[in-house]
Subunit: 515 residues, 2 copies
């Protein structure tokens, strides 16, 4: 692509002055519309050193309401960032619905500067491109607009600018050794850029190349591009909304269609043939109180030691707990953490998303809670809500939950690639056992808070949940993040199995590292 | 995923007999509906040797109208296939709208058997997974249903079956050395399968794992799955059609909205800022008749020799010609091929697609015409029609042509990866020159057939075409398949530039191979 770019383009001062006021007014009006329509916008600036990224961002935000955007400068990762998976710092910075996030440098660093300086190994590149495309696809699927600018100048122009900056003692500090090196090996760096363009110029997040030799030309092109893309998006959203209204009637007719007995019977038959991972669980497994106490003591001691070892080796651990209501998630988590150093783990209970969380991608709140190297993050309910409760209650569309299996696998892969141990537990009991526990809760005053009307309502959808859980266990049990079905009719047995599984996974990893 | 599968599932003879008639009737009815609604269906069977792929395909087609499907058995590639890019044989087998293609083995061979037997190198895997996902995405985006079955049996069961087959002299030939080897190293093969599942279990083409220990169970599950997926697709298409009708009114209102002068002015301004690759072309370049004749003779001689060299080295060449009407595509192609051995090249003129072509993916007809190793394929107009005439005339949706840049880049990458030299020429003239040539054609009796009303109509859309061409040149000029803009106001100059570029590209490749 780059070889086709005409870097001689320019704009006179008069033309520039004539155009800008109109463009600024227009942009600010579009920003307001995006806010009202809850459209999140991400604008990425990449390009050669001294191509004017900072200047252009300054020009761009000049036309915006300062309460509606954030600017993030992406430099070499901080200590805190280095202790998280690569995409953590970008996921946590994705804009809320209606806001604009501007990136001066971005996730492309990984395949540009970091590659040039050999911090990214060549063999890591396919995964890096995959993760970048997956990240942008997930965001645009979720309604984000992603605008990507590449500021292009040629070797000579770059050299001229770097020398000018160096020559002035007020700006000399802005020229790094890396800048000079990339200018000296301009052609090599350009080849990396070209590959990056080819791998990531997608229909959902296309690149716009900005001829940046003339600053005025660049500013006007950036404004015009943002205006064009936002206008198109707003038109599209409006149209979709109009269509939605026009077809609501159709959907209602659809829903009112009662299922015939025949169809219901068919559905039942299909269910019988589907994955029945839960049915395989042997719920008669149990432990006596004595066995339990003995094992618990031993395992807790062991975990305490392993926890220290994890910390020293800087291995992060992610443990997700899902399961039927009253299956014993809380009890297992309690026994797991009881003897651990409280500074080294966090338990995050997951309820329905709050307003801020709802204004982001559904994975955003989980990314935020992912552990630093050496720490343990325990989730009491997880991101799998997307393919269970959200699927069954219709909180997301079918397309959304079907897409989620891969999105979740991709997220867990990113965690695992960053060195994390990832385990997911499904706490399993049968319907009878649940009823017993519900009733017991209701009859024990100090446990009554644990049981609500909603629990009984969910219980009525047992079959639907079972179907969803089976599909989830099958599609998202991977080598890097396996599901463990915990036979939970005996609480003793279940707790020991959880602790043992965690201990074994940690031991296995440590053993591998020692090799 | 595989570790979660319950291979003990079975179905009694009675249950089987009770279920099958209904399932067969249902399937045949769905097949008819798919034909009527022009839905193309692809069903893939993969799995362990002796898991019963052949048997199950036999059972499945029993419920189908034989005039509506094809079964393809994918073995080690034939000599003919080996001389084409890997995906050529699958692209050419994709079903027409309303038909069903069943694959006994498939493109997954590349990441399974071929990987196990080290014909696929480990370093080729990321590209292979990328190509597989891209292939399936393009097809499903185009309305295909892709159903993928993985037939799963365990090591012991496989061994038992292989021994039984071997023990009978009528079936012994069906057991290959490879089957035994894969059984002996079952775990290793399973790991490859697991990775394959994780990389290719997408929302647009998910895998269904079939517990194949019990044949009856497997048959019923396969039928039920196909029935479920086709029913869902038909419902979806129906609903979309209903929505389309419901919103046609909206679209009409949209279209009737006249563009204000202001908007038109804005559009013009945007156009000025966009890529202007064509504007850079120096159309004053020319050659005298004498220079032309001398150079032409020399180049044609050289190409003749290089053509032989290509054939010996088995290098395929793909040359695409696009350009303004009357820009001289035909003349250039004629000079290029004049002295070549007619057995070693094919010129494919591209007109509007015929009915059969329209019933396939837009890239299908081009894949079919791709050259064997050592041959030259010349296209007079190309797959770029998608982002030019189809874009401008509204023959495809905006989403479709925007997606096409990446689809086309992916196709050309597959060709290049398979060793092809890929070059694309844009024959460029200015509007004045075109008018001169049109008029000349009209006034010369033997050239009148070359000029039609449509040419004049297209000419009126010059600006729109210019915008589309600039975007196309920018987004699809890659290192592995570059665009060459040919300054064509002087026919002599243009022809020589084409021949010279082709000769240089071939020489460069041969030089690289000699290294």
């Amino acid at each position: 692509m780059l070889e086709k770019v005409d870097l001689t383009k320019k704009l006179s001062k008069e033309e520039y002055k004539a155009k800008m006021p109109m463009l600024e007014t227009k942009l600010s009006c579009l920003q307001r519309q995006c806010r009202e329509m809850k459209i999140p916008v991400i604008i990425v600036f990449e390009g050669y050193g001294a191509a004017g990224k900072g200047l252009q961002i300054g020009k761009l935000i000049h036309g915006m309401d300062p309460r509606g955007f954030e600017v993030y400068t992406v430099k070499k990762e901080t200590e805190e960032e280095a202790m998280h998976p690569f995409f953590w710092r970008f996921w946590t910075k994705t804009p809320a619905k209606g806001r604009i996030a501007i990136f001066d440098g971005s996730w492309y660093r990984k395949v540009l500067i970091d590659r040039f300086e050999k911090r990214t190994k060549e063999r890591e590149l396919p995964e890096a491109y995959y993760s970048i495309c997956s990240f942008e696809k997930q965001l645009t699927d979720d309604g984000n607009v992603v605008i990507k600018f590449l500021l292009d100048i040629d070797k000579k122009e770059q050299k001229r600018r770097l020398e000018k900056l160096k020559g002035n003692k007020e700006t000399a500090w802005r020229v790094s050794q890396g800048d000079l090196e990339r200018n000296a090996r301009y052609r090599e760096y350009q080849t990396m850029m070209e590959e990056m363009l080819q791998k990531t110029d997608t229909d959902y997040a296309p690149w716009t190349i900005i001829e940046a030799t003339d600053k005025r030309f660049a500013t006007v092109k950036i404004y015009t591009t943002v205006i064009r893309i936002l206008t198109e998006k707003i038109e599209k959203v409006k149209k979709e909304k109009a269509k939605l209204r026009a077809t609501e009637v159709l959907d209602e007719i659809e829903e009112q269609k009662k299922e015939t007995d025949m169809q219901q019977k068919e559905k039942q038959q299909i269910r019988e043939l589907q994955e029945s991972i839960l049915a395989k669980a042997d719920l008669t497994l149990s432990l006596t109180k004595e066995e339990y106490k003995k094992k618990l003591k031993k395992l807790q001691k062991k975990l305490e030691i392993l926890h220290g070892e994890l910390y020293r080796r800087r291995i992060p651990v992610v443990l997700g707990f899902e399961g039927w209501d009253a299956a014993g998630k809380g009890g297992a988590i309690k026994r797991l953490t009881e003897k651990l150093d409280a500074r080294g783990y966090v338990v995050t209970p997951i309820a329905s998303p709050n307003d801020i969380e709802k204004a982001h991608h559904y994975l955003w709140r989980f990314w935020k809670a992912m552990p630093k190297d050496g720490h343990i993050a325990i989730f009491d309910r997880t991101w799998y809500g997307r393919v269970m409760v959200e699927r069954i209650e219709g909180f997301c569309t079918k397309e959304e939950w079907q897409r989620a299996y891969k999105e979740i696998n991709d997220m867990e892969k990113d965690l695992a690639d960053a060195g994390a141990i990832v385990l997911k537990f499904w706490m399993h009991i049968d319907k009878e056992e649940q009823k017993k526990r519900f009733t017991a809760r209701q009859e024990t005053p100090q446990k009554q808070w644990k049981i609500t009307e909603e629990d009984w309502r969910n219980r009525k959808k047992w079959d639907q949940y079972e179907e969803a859980v089976n599909e989830m266990l099958l599609r998202t049990s991977t080598e890097y993040a396996p599901w463990v079905v915990v036979e939970g009719n005996s609480k003793y047995y279940a707790r020991i199995k959880v602790l043992q599984t965690v201990a074994e996974a940690i031991e296995k990893r440590i053993k591998e590292e020692r090799k």
